[in-house]
Amino acid sequence: MNRREFLKTTSLAAVSTALLGSGVFTDVKAAELVDNPPPKKPFDEALKEITGGKAVSDSDKVKLVAPEIAENGAVVPVTVEVELPIEQVKAIHILADKNHNARTMSVYFTPANGKAYISTRIRLAETMNVVAVAQLADGSFIKTQKPVKVTIGGCG
């Protein structure tokens, strides 16, 4: 695949995400309908599931890059990097503390990665903190967090 093809499709992805609300990309009629929404997973529960109740300390070794103000909460770019040798990092967990399911993504690494780095795009339902938790090989957890202001509609 060449660069141009990649860029074309990724920009298509951004456009279709923007249009998602109007149902252009997803065929809503074909989608299955159910009575109940999925169960809620609040932040405290999600964090406990990850750490098993262990204390999580703040650390500047975890670098979290997210916009201060996100105009569209449906597509918020988030990058997390842990500035420790890859052998010492087992996983990175990204949480959004007021989302329906606070546990957004967990990434498990091996030394073949070379670097504890993950970049993705997440959804934020409202203004909230994005929390990046790093699970270290010695069993401890470190985190950093950043508030992201969401202005859906773009006129806030």
Binding site: R3, V34, M105, G114
Partner: protein, 109 residues
């Protein structure tokens, strides 16, 4: 292949031991299950990617648990250390059992 997926590596040229960034995108609606259908008032069933697995040769080097809080058409970027010439395979699985695979070749001199 059920869905369209793209994988790009950056930089294009690298030597043994270099870190390569892998950028990937898959077309997926990522329905959260929290949106109501306007006509029937029922919820649109959740349909989202639940896991992403990355194989380098025969070795599983990274795996991810993904929830519906990830944006539609998930973009994921991570690093791989170029140690051998082997295919890099990314496998996406969703909660309805759809599986999408994409393989690219990593050639190391």
């Amino acid at each position: 292949m059920a869905r369209q997926a793209l994988v790009k590596i950056n930089p294009k040229e690298y030597k043994k031991g270099d870190l390569i960034r892998i950028d990937s995108v898959i077309m997926h609606p990522m329905d959260t299950g929290l949106v109501k259908d306007k006509e029937s008032g029922k919820y649109i069933a959740a349909h989202y990617i639940t896991s992403v697995e990355v194989y380098y040769g025969d070795e599983k080097i990274t795996w991810m648990e993904v929830s519906a809080s990830v944006s539609a058409n998930p973009f994921i970027s991570f690093y791989v250390k170029a140690t051998k010439s082997a295919p890099l395979k990314i496998v996406w699985k969703d909660n309805k059992g759809e599986v999408t695979e994409k393989v690219i070749d990593i050639k190391v001199d």
